[in-house]
Amino acid sequence: MPLKNHIKKVLVIGSGPIVIGQAAEFDYAGTQACKSLREERISVVLVNSNPATIMTDTTMADRVYIEPLEVEAIEKIIAKERPDGLLPTLGGQTGLNLTVKLHEAGILDKYGVELLGTPLTAIKNAEDRELFKNFILSIGEPVPESEIVRDLESAREFARKVGLPLVVRPAYTLGGTGGGFVESWDELDEVVSIGLNASMVGEVLLEKSVKGWKEIEYEVMRDSSGTCITVCNMENFDPMGVHTGDSIVIAPSQTLTNKEYQLLRTASLKIIDGLKIEGGCNIQFALDPNSTKYYVIEVNPRVSRSSALASKATGYPIARISAKIALGLLLEEIKNPVTGETVAAFEPALDYVVVKIPCWPFDKFPVKDRRLGTQMQATGEVMALGRTFEEALLKAIRSLEHRREGLIRPEISLLSDKDIGERLKRGDDERLFLIAEALRRGWEVDSIYELTHIDRFFLYKIKNIVDFERRIKESDGCLLPLAKKIGMSDAYIAECRGENIGKVSKERIEKGIFPVYKMVDTCAAEFSAITPYYYSTYETEDEVLDKDNKEKVCVIGSGPIRIGQGIEFDYCTVHAVFAIKEKGYTSIIINNNPETVSTDFDTADKLYFEPLRAEDVVNVLRRENPKGVIVQLGGQTAINLAKRIKDAGFEILGSSVDSIDIAEDRNRFDALLERLNIPRPKGHTALILDEALAIADEIGFPLLVRPSYVLGGRAMEILYNKEEFISFVKYVLGISPDYPILIDQYVVGKEAEIDAICDGEEVFIPGIMEHIERAGIHSGDSTAVYPPFSLSPDVQRTMLEYAYKIAKALNVRGFINIQFAIDKQDKVYIIEANPRASRTIPFMSKATGIPLVHIATRIMLGEKLSDCGLKEGILRDPPYYSVKVPVFSFGKLKGVDPIMGPEMKSTGEVMGIDPVFEMALLKGLISAGIKIGKNYGVILSLNERFREETLNSIVRLKSCGYSFYSTSGTYEWLKSEGIESSRISSLEEVENLFRSRKIDLVVNTPNKGKDSNRFGFKLRRMTVEWQIPMITAIDLLDAISRAVRVYPEGIEYGVCSINDYHKLLPPIEDRIINPWR
């Protein structure tokens, strides 16, 4: 079938900010789709609110809109661009939900936009619980007994009928928000109530529990002619009851017989054919571990996290093929780009095992309850390939970047048998290590199975590793080749032997034990493949090929998405690769995150899917022998490897290892700043309380205090008086007594940051970002504005001067990010400097229209700024504002206190752009889910310290017609200030206000401590669970109140493509001014 010839221009909707349940996989899918569509000469219009994505680059799509993902904005874009078609299935649940709304609002019909690929009826049949159930039953497939309820009473009635336990799933949400597994009547009430609210349509599905059954997924494709294929099946290590996003997943299935495999495959094809899907689809099954009985659990009629995983696991590019199918091409007409020989109508055959392990944010959020359940909590994931399960599992564990590389966790070895048993039964994020410890203690596999319902196959595999630990301990070293074959790293072997890692590595190298690299080719070597996508294993034949004699440059990726190290670094990695290729080198990527663009097989010339640990990375480098290695783009993960890479004899491109060390070593950096005469907040370290008190006396309050080593527990606090200080220092000394406490002056004032590129001689600064929140809120959680909206010219000049001096003194080649604090007297302090790409690079690239990574990479390769068409100086301010707003996933993390502070907690970001600062801010906030001006109600609960400062904001909001609800102390204070408000005396009242949709915003400035019994904590949790916008830092309230006042008639915004914004900028030579000469 030919292409749909009338389709010339297609709108692609992205998935918005990274949140738990919707991460980098949709940037990967969207980017692939853009490439795929443009290959067919389709003009692509892309909309996404997330600036950190590769898909929002003007090189990826013809027109890029960074605008709020809501119907109003999309309609304006459609009106402006008049696309012929819309691809709804690549932007995750966000894209899908938005498409449904656009359709229901009649907008697609109005502008004659054709829905491409999967039809809307299929989306509804898969997404709407009742339609789904009826559809599945109508094609003769089984679903668990279930009922849709719209109120609590019906839920109780159903539960009485079928009995507990039940699974609760709200309809139309992200990543299973608000769902849960309930075993008691109390839990039923709680989870159903939350679920009803989380659902966009106020519906919750109650389902008979199949907890403990095997969870199996199939990724299937269908084209318009009805040809259906399976790309991959996957088996969850964790049985039903744990969200697949939180499960360890293995591809292909390991414990299914052919009969079972085909039973579920046939059911999958029946479902996708019945739904008439045109593109990819994910189907989840529960399979009885004791018979061939199964249920269809879920169908996702779109690309998903699982499809990204399946694509990386097999080499079959699902999103890319889906885009072509949407244009009308048939599977048999599309070439398999991996082999270049076969067609897309085939099913990949794997000759390796793939293991995915999720990455949870529990290190950032020390909560007591780390249980895994039907609510996804992972922020990211790692994937590893091996020729045995043990090897793939151990490589995946290493990729998690824990302090230890194997299955041994000293904390867990200290637990009692009883604790281990209880935790195994409960099932938390550390269960792999708990299982290993139980096996080490001689527990029977069967008894662990009874507790966990994890298939005995996997338990025996873990036992193989644990048994091997003992063999190594007892042997004299001859087991080294076998240990490598089983997948153990040198560090793990050293740990088992009680030796130094260097000794093991030396022995291994002397014995010539190195891995070989095998290719991922979709066909188990049946055909020759052209895609250089490799993984390591310890076998006989190596398949690495060099097509030519070009010099090679290797980029170290950033590993899994986690809080503090997100998709921004993947953006940087990918752009570096583009620049490297352009400069005529062979580009190599090493990374282990299956969700990302960087690990797409056609991003780099060569892809190594490997753990980002020194041993694994150095092995690849040894095999490839590149001219140099780039470490400054992969976040802290890559920077941390710099020294080991250099020590192994490879060249670090860009800033030297010593520069990195100066910036990271507190003493060396202090000395540097002193030499340069640049102020920094005063700070010292203390080991005991008396020392700490002496330091406090010297510096004076407020103080920023943090332990130098944390293992769970509070990490960093701002303390305003001696009483708070003593209590926190005692607490820190209690949890990590042998480590020094860092005590710093806390500069009360503004915060700002600069990203700069330096070629060793000249410094180029794209701009200064001013934070709305004061110093003390982590920069990653701050609302950043470019250009600055309130910093005086003098302050800006000082910042530029400091940045220039530091960049030169550190001899930076490539990126440096510098954070500043500015006190009330406009004195500028340096908080920190990092000679690497920061998370604001993609934001600044989009705001300025300058491909910063491209330039920095060329400089790392040896060019000068002048070679890149730039010169020393800073860019003039553009005629528009760009605002970066952080996005949080608190709703998904039960028990976490949603409060901002010096520790980063956001998972993603959005960008608002507008010629008017206030509107840029409001657009950013809308994209982040903070929509003001709907209900005109604000709940205020302020602690005394911040009340004074908030007054003006409250007055402004009042003048715009807002009414207030306040807790007792705040109420009295407001009254004394002559501001009327309704008093709130209980959480029930708050909930009623939420329910009756009277509230736009909750403002809560917390009291000290994070005691979860406090009213404030409960209020904050209730607010995030009801998905009501909340502000815990008062500067943002100030900015919002000012912005709202600029638009008294309501917030109406226009849309404009990034391409058009960039057209407003003068030629580059006229944009740079030099403040230093």
């Binding site: 299914l256 017989t257 085909q262 046939t266 085939f346 990949p348 000759d351 196959f457």
Partner: protein, 362 residues
């Protein structure tokens, strides 16, 4: 210890499992990720040493009901790793003890991907699989053995098939199944449609077959070179003249091709796996199929009414024949799957319709 020695002199040493012993055969690879019990017991592998490209074999043990024949007829299996402690509720054997019981040598710890790449590049190779330790002194003797062994010299069909008619099922139409080494999956597929099935030896003549008064005849899959099965080809020629509905699967398809006047040739390394895409040239639909064959039908020389009904989308070779006038159909792939996808199961129903039409006509 254990080893595999190939005709090009390549020696692969590993760890043996299953039975002790030594055997010679054609080394072929299969890319299915599940279904090793079915493959191990597939009679079409007679005379062959089977390499599994999927590295973990034996994970779910072996259930006797998954067998495609009573006993495995292949010469040995080669894997990266076999599972010592399988996990499944229906296990009758673990793979090691199953192979031991039936005298099949297994070899593990082999870089099966490297071996597969060799077979892909050089084509199918002959080899010796052994559970013993390799010694250099024996190399010459073993190489001699390998080089003097030719799969074409053997009639594996006669040793694979039933020796006397076997009657299965009750009522309905009667199908005579000419057993060239039939997979039980085919028998089960026929029985599930309500047929009476008479399984007869491959050497039965046309008259032998007709003596059962069949409503249709199925010529089964089986091992080896179709060209040496002149006796089956003769039988089929006779049956074609009788206008009895015919259905050929795999080797049976090749035999029908030969009986219709075409020829067959050997592929470099064959199609073995559960992911082979075929296209129905009549309807345009694409299916994923299970395949296991070295030989293919050359479409040249076929009578005018015989159309190529299916082709392989990877290499465009013939995957099926169908007459526009006569009740003849055949497919190179395995509609009964086992192991593999069930996408083309409907072909049995098509055959059933043909057979019923005949019933009603008379």
């Amino acid at each position: 210890m254990g080893f595999l020695l190939l005709e090009d002199g390549t020696l692969l040493e590993g760890i043996s499992f299953g039975a002790e012993g030594e055997s010679i055969g054609e080394v072929v690879f299969n890319t299915s990720m599940v279904g090793y019990p079915e493959s191990i017991t597939d009679p079409s592998y007679s005379g062959q040493i089977l390499v599994f490209t999927y590295p973990l074999i034996g994970n779910y043990g072996i259930q006797l009901e998954d067998r495609e024949s009573e006993v495995p007829l292949l010469r040995g299996i080669v894997v990266r790793e076999y599972c010592e402690i399988p996990s499944h509720w229906g296990i009758d054997y673990d793979i090691d003890s199953f192979l031991k019981e039936f005298g099949i040598v297994g070899l593990s710890g082999i870089d099966t991907r490297a071996l597969t790449r060799k077979l892909r590049i050089f084509g199918t190779l002959r080899g010796v699989i052994s559970s013993g330790e390799f010694s250099q002194e024996r190399k010459e003797e073993l190489m001699d053995k390998i080089l003097n062994w030719h799969i074409e010299d053997f009639d594996f069909v006669k040793s694979s098939c039933v020796k006397d008619p076997v009657y299965l099922g009750e009522g309905g139409e009667r199908i005579v199944l000419i057993d060239c080494g039939v997979k039980q999956g085919i028998v089960r597929s026929l029985l599930s449609l309500g047929f009476q099935v008479v399984v007869v030896p491959a050497w039965y003549t046309k008259d032998d077959v007709l003596s059962f008064d069949p409503d249709g005849v199925l010529i089964s899959n089986g091992p080896g070179d179709p060209k040496r099965l002149t006796y089956v080809v003769e039988t089929v020629k006779g049956l074609i003249e009788e206008e009895i509905p015919l259905f050929g699967i795999c080797l049976g398809h090749q035999i029908i091709g030969l009986a219709l006047g075409s020829t067959t040739y050997k592929l470099k390394f064959g199609h073995r796996g559960a992911n082979q895409p075929v296209k129905n040239l009549i309807t345009g639909k694409v299916y994923i199929t299970s395949q296991n064959h070295s030989y293919v039908v050359d479409p040249k020389g076929l009578p005018e009414d015989i159309k190529v009904s299916f082709i392989n989308l990877n290499d465009k070779t013939v995957e099926g024949l169908k007459s526009t006038k006569r009740p003849i159909m055949s497919v190179q792939f395995h509609p009964e799957a086992s192991p593999g996808p069930l996408d083309t199961k409907f072909l049995f129903e098509e055959f059933a319709k043909e057979c019923m039409r005949k019933t009603y006509a008379t």
